[in-house]
Each structure stands twice: as structure tokens, then as C-alpha cells.
Subunit: 294 residues, 4 copies
């Protein structure tokens, strides 16, 4: 991928440079960048992205279908043979498709074939907004759509994919609706203070469990960095595990063995990839509460 | 085991019948029953049990040691060969010792040998008050005691074992401190009503997970029967799982996919086998609280 | 009022006795009792009450209006002159109408006149289901009804009034939907135990504040008796005050002066006079929660 | 009071200017400023304040007592006659002493006399850290101290008073431990969103009730500005009132009349004037929770 440049640089470079810099934002379609080069300067990255999408949406339908057809299949042969574009490879990597079991690979294959048979273009999904489980669920659901709905949905997903790619090309892009955030906060309501030094683990669940973060709360009862941020939060199921037993033992509380509360798990789902999920825990050795906060 | 009889029957039967009825309450020691037969009538089952224990505690130490020595080892050869008394067999069964892996059996063997070597009598534990994990933990801990402490502890455990056996022999025994209870209660704080029809599962955890109960809440938000009762609650780790996602979907709430809250797990420890653990859940589709109630 | 008798006695006494016992259940209308005496025996008190109401509802409309007209006005001249029936006097007493300020008395007078002018019968309300504030609010609201609605509402209220009166006449009446209940429960979630010895006060608010109960929680964290029971809970506004500061100080917690939490007030409304309101408090020196429980 | 200047200006001006600018930080004692002028430059305002306090604490005891003696009495004659220093007047104003009833004024007079009689210098208190109620309570408590303790306490209070005064003289002072903060946050846990448009009132209680703030929550469920900030939070009792009934009615919830929850009051004490008190409310129409957060 090219090194990110400023919007200013994009607005003032030659058309050839512009196409070189943004040509691969749309899969195998440098002509999208070329088509909007003459519309420069763009006031902000949102305007640039809007112009690119407007061009694609304005194509004659047959041409647009050709464009869709060029997209690689998810978990498809191209992915497994390593012959996709660099960014598609990276993006599909976030689904850990390489790690698919034989059964899962067969399920993807089956869905891909059914989809292509019904719609004549490949299934297109902004995979960074999904876990494997939610990608499969949405795949099955979209297969039931009619052709017009799915044609529109594929373009919407291309909008999401290219928006994220554009964000990676422009220094200080300022694009809205690009990233979500997951944060937590532990309050010790027995002592009325933030709980410092509580180990907090985040797992992706809803399939094979996968550890995503392992932190300790600071003296404000928070983790220094969000548990997830910097991009869309993959739709799916997660669990936070708070090691309260160790914490309260260190406070000299809860002498019982085993303690009433030890590792407290909060299982939750993420359905809005660009939202802020704040999931605090207020706890004593004998009680706890959580809620979706803000 | 003999059919339970009333205290009145025990107070008025012949000495021979009395010994037949209660002779096996103390392992291989019908002489305990014989020794207290002459003290009848007993005002209540507690007085009867106290008299039996007083007799044992009053024995010369060497005789008492002989008595301890007659007890079968936990997970020992006798257990595995099927040559223990009927009730010991039943009680040890509650630990599911038969299902021990080779490694676990070796660990028990090792502890049994070390214990017998140090104390010259077998490790005695009221197993109905323990899960396998807590039995092992307490075994290791007691191995570190000195001989006097352990002698006293063994007698205390015999007190607990025989108290439970006595409860099984006497109709309407009225013995205090015999049983604990685990109950729950689900409140839907979005609608201000008890949550009816929530599936609640109880698992023993802290080792291989084991399903102990699977219920639905009634219109009071409770399960018709306690989740655990009728005897001591085995010390150990548990998890309640509340299927809130299904419940709120049935209420027409939480259209998101996946829902923020779906199966809510409350992991907790039990350290007081004869206590009442009431663990309520108050919940909306976006928040929940729990605490050790009463 | 007559001494309560059993349903059996009512079913088997003479008609004259029956009318003497139940003649005043309907205001100035012993003929209601007389009319149903021949329908005896009644299976239960609910059947008896249903028969009486059916007779009243079955009257020609003009006769029914005459009957409504005989009811005393609420807070009206009859009340203030002491010339109402014994039970009306007692029931109106629950509103503490005698204690009306000059302005309030004027407001009642004004509403009474407007009502009688519009409907030609007095405003009828089961006052035991209301506080002064809610009685006034509902009076103003009902004044806006049309004549048919208000005619039906008046009969419904007579049903409620007479149901309560009947409950007072029959030993072990078994009548459903007669009484509500207000209970509480204090959990100390810092220690995982019921909070014993917490002073709990109940006030009627929504006008001049009135202390209704002043108790201490027992070792289960409850008050020995419900805070309100034995009849309908008057619709209105209330406040529970929990003296947590004193409680936690006695536990050796919360050395700060002033404590973060001292007297915790829970203000709530009652809108269902025959319901069970359970309002628990879970608290530490630094946090608390409440909810409408069951 | 002089216009605030930068620390840089204080470090580089003439001694005369320095004394003019800071001479009144210590009551009637420009010699404190003069004594530290030669120690310039100061690295920060904390170092400057430390130097001034060190000079005072280093005085011979008799001289230090003379200095204490020059302080005006709280609520004393000087206050009532308007002959105190400008800042003392302003500071005492925060106690609203002018509004003292005859009884309260008599109580202050009595305490002032007893204190002066026992200690031979006036009662000195950083009044901005207190409400009237807490000032009186601490006055009575300090009267019981011995002379050495009270001498040290008076100097500590002078440290607090002058620290706040210094903060007012230096642009961008950077002084630590000067101000507390009271914030809130309302979460609607029925809908999983911040509660927008909830009216929140803050009252000082613990005497005649006084409204301190009246706000509406924004779309983050917070008030745009802290409810209290910019200086120490006066030690004392407060109540937050959240108008939840109006909020939930506007959401189309809670059709009952009266609603179960209407105006929810959270009564709390402040004991740490320089701390951050965050007091969130999570609520549905049927339940709420609060805690001291951070």
C-alpha cells in the first residue's frame, strides 16, 4: 500500500499521481480514481469518497455488474491461493479465514456457490465489520434477498470497504463513522473508589474463544487504552472477564474459599461496529452490576 | 439402609432394634449406638446425635484412633474395589470418584499415602459438603496440619457425616444445620415485573462443567423448587446461566442482532454448605445486577 | 357495625337476620340485602357480592339514579356535620378530610357543586383507595367524563366500596382483590448479608408529609410486618427513608463526616391499590439500588 | 484585589511590586511577601506558596500568635460591621453569614467567645471549604482540642486560605489541590442510551434548602458544565433531584398515574472538598442505582 499522504497533496498532485495513490481503493478499478481526479479540489475526505461512490453508482447497470464480478470471493479460491489484491488479503485476514476448519471451508464454499448462482456476482462484505460467526450469519441471510436488494447491498458494502481503505491512504483523514470503541471502568463500591489493578481480559466468543486483550486497570479504574478501537468493532459476541477475586483478596477482603465472586464474566454482543460501547462494572465482593454506558 | 422411623419409635424400641436401626450410622461401629441406647428417651434428634458424638469423643485416645483407622480411604482401594459400607459408597459417589482420570486417581493415591504416613489414620471428610475440586484442595491443606489438629478435625468431620446419616434414618428428624439452599429470582426492571419464562441453568464448574439444573422461571420470576436443596451444598464453583436474549425477544424488545445481552452467566462460589444462597438477577436488555441476597 | 359472622352463618340465618347483618353494606339501601336473601346459599363471599351488585345493576335506570343520589358527598356538608352513616364516616376519615384547610375545603365544595350540577348525583369514590391528593386529581378528571361513563364509574366505585364493607362483615371472607401490600428488604452488599437494625420510615408525601410507619429491620433485613397491608394501598405518593448512615457507622464503616450516604430516601408512587409493592434496597456506604420487586 | 499576573511577572518584578501584588495574601501581613521576595525566582506557584508558609511556620511562637490574633473572627463583629479585609469579606460571604438568624448569630458569638477565651486567638477556618452546618460542627469539635493542636490547625487552615488567595492572583497558577468537582450522568438502562433532557437540580440541604444548580442533561446524559467546580466543594449535605417521571413520559413510557418513579432524589454528603464527586444515575421507570463514581 502507498504511504499515506495529506488531502492537500491529493488535491494538488498530477492526475497520474492521484491515480497511483488511490487507484487500488476500489478493487481492480483504477478508473474510479481517474474519473474523479478532475473534480479536485475536495473540501474533505468525505467529499472525495462521496464523489467516488457517486461515480460507481452512476454507471450503467451492466458495467456496474462487471465491476462487482471482479471482486474476490470471501474465503474463496483466490484467498486460499494467495492471488488477491494486497488489501483484500489483509482485510480477509481479519476473519482468520486461513484458520477455517474443513467443515467451515465447505460451508463457505457452499454459500459462495449458491450466491454466485443466484446473483451472478460474488458475495461482497466489509469483513472488518464482522467476526467469522456474524459473517456467516449475514451471508445466509443475504442469500435470501432478491437481486435488486442484493445489488444495492453490495454497493453499500463497497462504500464501507473503500471508506476504510481511503482512511488508510490519507493522513489525518477526518472521515466520520470509521471506527468504534470498546472501553470499561471498574468501580469498587465497597470502598467508593475506582478499582485499581483489576485484570481485565477481552475474548471474542461465539465460536472458538480468542483472547483479544489482557490488561490491568489503572488508578482511575480504567484501562489506559480502549480495549478495542482504531477501526470498526467486528459484529459478534464477546466476553469481558474481570479478575475480582484477586483484587478483593489484595484489598484484604473476602477471606472465604472459594470466594463468592472470583472471575466475573460479562458476555455481550456488538451489533453497531462504529459505536462506542462502554461497559462498566461496579462491584463489591458480594454484588455487581453492569450496563451499556456511554 | 433401614427405612426411616420416627424418633418416638427409636425412643421406645428394644435395645437390639435400636442398634439394628442406628448401628451403621458410625462406620463399622455399632457399639456407638449400643452405648447410648440406655440414655433414651432423647428429646430430639439433636440430643441423640450429641450423645453419640460425646461417647466417641470420650473414648481413650488409642481406642478412638482404632475407630478412625477403620474408615475407608476417599477414592481409595476399598472404593474402587467396591468393599466399603453401603453409605460410604453412596456418599463417595457424590464426588463422582469413579470418573477420576488416571492423573486424578494418582493424585488422590499420593495424598492418601502421604496422609496415612503422617497421621496413621485415613483422611476423613464429609464428602457431601464438597465438590471434587474443593475436596482435593482441602485435602492438600489438611495434610499440613499437626497431628492434634487433624485428630480433632477428623472427629468434626465424623460428626458431620453421621449427622447427615442420622437425618436419613429418622422421619421428620428436625436436625438443624443439615441442608443449604440455592434459589434465584429474575426481575425485569424494564417493565417492573417478575420475568416469567426465563430459562435458568445451573452448572458446577471449577473442573469439567456439569449441568445440575435446567428450569424456567414461573410468573413470580422464580423457579418452582430451589435449584439446590435437601442436603449440604457442595463447596465449590458454580455458574448460573440466564437466557435473557430469548426472554426479551419474546417480549418484543432488543431487535439487534446479536443482542447486547443474550445468555448472562453469573459465576459464583459456595463456601458455606449449610447456608441459603439467594442469587437474584435484575435485568433490562441493556443492564443487569446480581448480589448475594437472602 | 355488626360483629363479623361466618359465611355459613349468613347462609343459614333467617332473612331478617341476614338483612340486619348486611343491610348497611349498600348505603341507605337494606333492600339490596333483602333482594338477594332468597338466593342463598352462596358458595363464597365473592358470589354473594356479585349477586348484590347484579341486583343493583339490574335496576331500572331511574331507580338506580335515586340510589346514587342517596350517597353522601365526599367532604361535603354531611361529613362536616357528622350526619353520615357510620361506615361512610369511618371511610371518609381515611382521607383526613376533617383536617382540610379552608382552601382545600373550598376546592372540594366547588368540585362537588360542579359535579352534582353536571350529573345530578353526588361524586362517588372508594376513598380507601386514595390519598387526598389522588382523590382530588381523580375528581377533576372524572368531572370531564360524559354522563354514561360517569354513571358506570359510580357503580364500579360502589362495587369497590361494598366489597370492602362486606370483607369487614364476614369472618374469613376470602374475597380476592381486597388488599395491597408494601414491603421492603435491605441488603448490605458490602458484607453480603441482610442489613439488620436499619431504621426504615414510610411517609405519605404529595401534600403535607405524614409518617405512616417507623420500623427497624430484623436479622433478615426485613420488617416483621408489611409497612402497609390489610386493605387497599391508597393511590398516591410516598417516600421510604432508610437510615443507612447510622447502620454503617454501627458496622464500623464510613468514618467520614458527613458520610457519603446518610438517610437514603426512595420516593415512589402507588397506582395499583390492590398490588404488592416490594421495594428492596441494596446498599454499601457508597452505592445503592432499588427497584419495584415482587 | 489586584488583577492576576503571571508567575513570570512575579518572578521578575521589583520587590515593591511583588509586595504590592501579594501583600494581602496573608491577612494584614505584607511582611510575609516581603520576606520571600529575595528567594525568587520560584519554579512554580506551589514553591512560592510553600516558601511563604515556611516563613510563617518559622516565626518565633509569640510572633506567630500575634499574627493569628490579627485574623477577623468568623461571623464576628468585624464581619457584621464591614471592617474586614476585602478577601475575608468575600470569603465569609460564601457562608451567607449575613443571613444568620438571631439564634445562629448567638451560637457563633458564644463559640467565638469560648474559643478566644481558651486559645487567646480567633477561630480560623478556610470557610470556602464549608457549608454553614459543617463550619458550626467543626467549630464545636475544634473547641475541644488542646492548645498545641489548635495552634497547628490554625496554621494549616491559613495554608488553605492563602493557597486559594494565591490561586486568584496568578494567571494559570497550576496549584494542585485547589478545587473539587461535582458531576453527574444519567443512563436510561431501559433503552441502553444516555438519558437526554432530564432536568437535574442540585440543592444544599442540612439546614434551609438552597438551590445551587438547575440543568438539563445533554445527549450524552451529562450536564454541559460540572454542577459544582472552580473551587473547593463546601463540606456538607446535598441532594440531587432527577426529574425522571417527565423524562420517561416524554419517551412514551410509564403511563401509570402517579408514576412509580417521578422525582428521584439522591441525598449525599461531601467530606473531601478537593475531590471529584461523580454521582451517576442509571434508571428505568421501575428501578434505579447510584454510586460514588470517578
Amino acid at each position: 500500500m502507498p504511504t499515506p499522504v495529506t488531502l492537500d497533496a491529493l488535491n494538488t498532485c498530477s492526475e497520474a499521481e492521484f491515480v497511483e495513490l488511490l487507484g487500488s481503493v476500489f478493487e481492480d478499478a483504477p478508473w474510479v480514481a481517474r474519473a474523479v481526479a478532475g473534480l479536485r479540489p475536495f473540501a474533505d475526505a468525505d467529499a472525495l469518497h462521496a464523489a467516488m461512490m457517486a461515480h460507481v453508482r452512476g454507471l450503467p447497470r451492466s458495467q456496474c455488474l462487471d465491476f462487482l464480478t471482479l471482486h474476490p470471493e470471501l474465503a474463496g479460491l483466490a484467498a486460499r491461493m494467495g492471488v488477491m489484491g494486497a488489501e483484500s488479503t489483509l482485510e480477509q485476514g481479519s476473519l482468520a479465514l486461513a484458520a477455517l476448519s474443513v467443515d467451515e471451508a465447505a460451508r463457505w464454499e457452499e454459500l459462495n456457490q449458491a450466491y454466485r448462482h443466484k446473483f451472478e456476482f460474488p458475495f461482497i462484505l466489509c469483513v472488518r465489520r464482522h467476526t467469522r460467526a456474524s459473517a456467516l450469519r449475514i451471508f445466509a441471510k443475504r442469500l435470501a434477498n432478491d437481486r435488486d436488494t442484493e445489488f444495492a447491498t453490495a454497493l453499500d458494502e463497497i462504500g464501507r470497504i473503500t471508506r476504510l481503505r481511503l482512511a488508510g491512504r490519507i493522513d489525518g483523514h477526518g472521515l466520520a463513522n470509521i471506527a468504534g470503541r470498546l472501553t470499561t471502568h471498574v468501580l469498587d463500591t465497597a470502598s467508593g473508589r475506582p478499582a485499581e489493578g483489576v485484570r481485565v481480559q477481552l475474548f471474542e466468543t461465539g465460536g472458538a474463544e480468542r483472547l483479544l486483550a489482557d490488561r490491568n486497570t489503572d488508578r482511575k479504574g480504567r484501562t489506559e487504552q480502549p480495549l478495542l478501537d482504531g477501526g470498526p468493532l467486528p459484529t459478534g459476541q464477546y466476553e469481558l472477564r474481570f479478575h475480582l477475586g484477586d483484587y478483593f483478596r489484595a484489598q484484604g477482603l473476602s477471606a472465604e474459599e472459594p470466594p463468592f465472586l472470583d472471575v466475573v464474566g460479562i458476555a455481550f454482543g456488538i451489533a453497531e461496529p462504529e459505536a462506542h460501547y462502554h461497559i462498566p462494572l461496579t462491584a463489591t465482593p458480594w454484588a455487581y452490576s453492569t450496563y451499556r454506558g456511554s
